[in-house]
């Protein structure tokens, strides 16, 4: 009896598959983590399109400070101390500019892939939100981070 039921189920299953022509899944294959560059991160920024000068652009840094005040400093202190997320002190020394730009504009995929971010998540337990920074916003925030790290 049991066997018969199984046969029936197999036939039913086959008929379902056949009738609807099988799956036409469009889910994109996830990028394998082996292709992930932990120095660059993931996003639209790279060494070519993010350049920083030896000296500070004070105007950009001031704009960046205002943006950070609205969107970032609820969770990040300017010292090295952790609040919700890690403190910002020396972040521009720990991370490449393009990594920072990618992370603050495209956090979700990097939280899933970047080994350092994953380690940080285990401590902070709050995924950094995507704060919808434009490319220009992000560059200005980076300049403010540089100012915070003593670039003059």
């Amino acid at each position: 009896m049991k066997k018969n039921i199984s046969i029936a189920i197999i036939i039913l299953g086959a008929s379902l598959l056949y009738a609807c022509g099988g799956s036409t899944s469009t889910t994109p294959a996830t990028t394998s983590t082996s292709s992930y560059d932990p120095n660059r991160g993931e996003g639209k920024f790279n060494q070519e399109n993010v350049t920083v000068a030896a000296t500070l652009d004070a105007t950009m840094a001031t704009t960046g400070e205002a943006i950070a005040g609205t969107k970032c400093t609820s969770c990040h202190k300017l010292t090295g101390e952790k609040l919700v997320g890690p403190g910002w002190k020396a972040v521009t020394e720990r991370r490449r500019p393009e990594w920072i730009m990618n992370f603050i504009t495209n956090p979700d995929p990097m939280i899933d892939k970047d080994p350092a971010v994953q380690a940080s998540l285990e401590l902070c337990l709050v995924r950094m939100p995507n704060q919808s920074l434009s490319d220009v916003d992000a560059r200005n925030v980076l300049e403010f981070m540089r100012k915070n790290d003593g670039i003059k």
């Binding site: 009896m1 018969n4 039921i5 046969i7 029936a8 189920i9 036939i11 039913l12 086959a14 008929s15 379902l16 056949y18 009738a19 609807c20 022509g21 005040g69 609205t70 969107k71 400093t73 609820s74 969770c75 202190k77 101390e81 609040l83 919700v84 337990l125 709050v126 995924r127 939100p129 995507n130 704060q131 919808s132 920074l133």
Partner: protein, 655 residues
Amino acid sequence: MNKSIGLISLSALALVVMLGSCRPKNTANAVSGDAASKVYVAPGKFDELYNFVSGGFSGQMSVYGLPSGRLLRVIPIFSVDPEKGWGYSEETKPMLNTSHGFVPWDDLHHVQLSKTNGEQDGRWVFGNANNTPRVARIDLKTFRTAEIIELPNSAGNHSSPFITENTEYVVAGTRFSVPPDDVNGDVAISSYKKNFKGTLSFISVGKEDGKMDIAFQIQCPGVNFDLSRAGKGKSHGWFFFSCYNTEQANTLLEVNASQKDKDFVMAVNWKKAEEYIKAGKGKKQAVRYAHNTYSDITHSATSEIKTEVTVLDSKEFADICYFIPCPKSPHGCDVDPTGEYIVGSGKLAALIPVFSFDKIQKAIADKAYDGDYEGIPVIKYEAALYGEVKKPGLGPLHTEFDAKGNAYTSMFVSSEIVKWNIKDLKVLDRAPTYYSVGHLCVPGGDAKTPYGKYLIAYNKITKDRYLPTGPELAQSAQLYDISGDKMQMILDFPTIGEPHYAQAAPADLIRNNGQVKIFKIEDNKHPYVTKGESDSKVVREGNKVHVYMTAIRSHFSPDNIEGVKMGDEVYFHITNLEQDWDVPHGFAVKGASNAELLIMPGETSTLKWTPDKVGMFPIYCTDFCSALHQEMQGYVRVSPAGSNVPLTFSLNKPE
């Protein structure tokens, strides 16, 4: 053994049915065969259509996915909704203001999706308030109520909010005739015939911004205006209203308004009325009505009381309004996709009359009248009639249309849907409903080009369709596949409130309309916005305490407040600093006599709280936002009046 053979044959049968399902030819037996596959939307997949369903006495509008029947959202409109803070936050309270003051409830019967050139355009959906007459416009980029306008000279705003083919006007006809607002309404009810008037409101809709304004009203004889539809195509420029109680009874209408064999469909030449208004022929009338608008920039509503409308008296203009006799106590009054045929559904009639727009025009030109009714010409029935659908069923109510020249009429008394051909008026099919069907919806069923494919019946009686839940049962909708010759029931799904009319539109039309995912914090112009924690503060102004608070995963700033005293009014102005889709924060304070706030990313909302006793009052985030959501909390210390506890606030950040 018999059983196993049975199973195998069942499977073989399934194989045959399934094979057929990819090449639909005859869907006659779908209920037994492939109904499940027709309505199954796999996890992670989207529905094919949005279905906007009136919430009836809930006062709200619900949004379902079709064909799955999954509830996607309940949009608060005319009734308060503590879940969303609607009518409880300081910003949304003005949306429910009326000439009677704050009204926390209403009864929403009909919905209309905005149209351009007679086709759905996916911009707005309108809803009517039946009890305290109002019309609302919902913005389909935010799925929120953007505007509510009250209607003077009206009661029982039932034939509403039907729209013209380019959304030039939303129309609202009054079901309960009443004495006009500018005369003394303190009269004997038995003076109905003398003192009571029916009013039709034409609300203009801004082409770009959708802003509503009462362009003019037409004062009509005191009958009950029930439902209406705009003409389209050749009949664009006309509106058609069903009228019952042409007996002008004022008591026991069930009997006394059912005396005549025919009541009326009223044809209104609104283009002509528009001309008279432009020529300055309307009379200004002193009235009071509220006009409420919500801004996504200030995140606040404003309510304005307006004091004048322009009215045309139907008796004084020979070429605006015409009555057409319609058997008997007509309810639905529906116009087919071509604009040529107007279907009247007499609740007590044993047939369905179909009127011809061309014949109506000819009858008017020939003055083929049977006298007049209170000064309005009555067109001869035969002069306007295209034909009658004979013996359609019992209790016809509403008619929708497909793109193949077919009409579908709901039959309340005989609990069925009847499909008939518009040209030859022959009944083609019948399908039972469970039970007592009211409105019908075919996606795009009132557009020039109906989408068709499905039909949804919104039933009045649910009885045994679902697991019992005590005396009150879920309201029931039923989905039919109408792609074949025969209608096939493929799904039951329960709805909120009582569903009356509903409309449906292809999902892509709405989801690709520029859906708002977040409100940009940079654009937030709320007077009490806090754009960053460093600006968060608590300010005392006399006995008013304004808290400028921010919320972000997962803390408030400030979170601890001391120095609030008995007699104070505390206003928590909370700005959600998140800029990520689907991350609202909630806010609640112990003992508050209103509701929570639910604050969208980039938005500012205000909860007013009057402490009722001395002590400690926790605040917390009500919408699970992160792993540390449970930590998103704070305290407000309330001291006696006259206490010298200073006003302080903090985040208690580690130094």
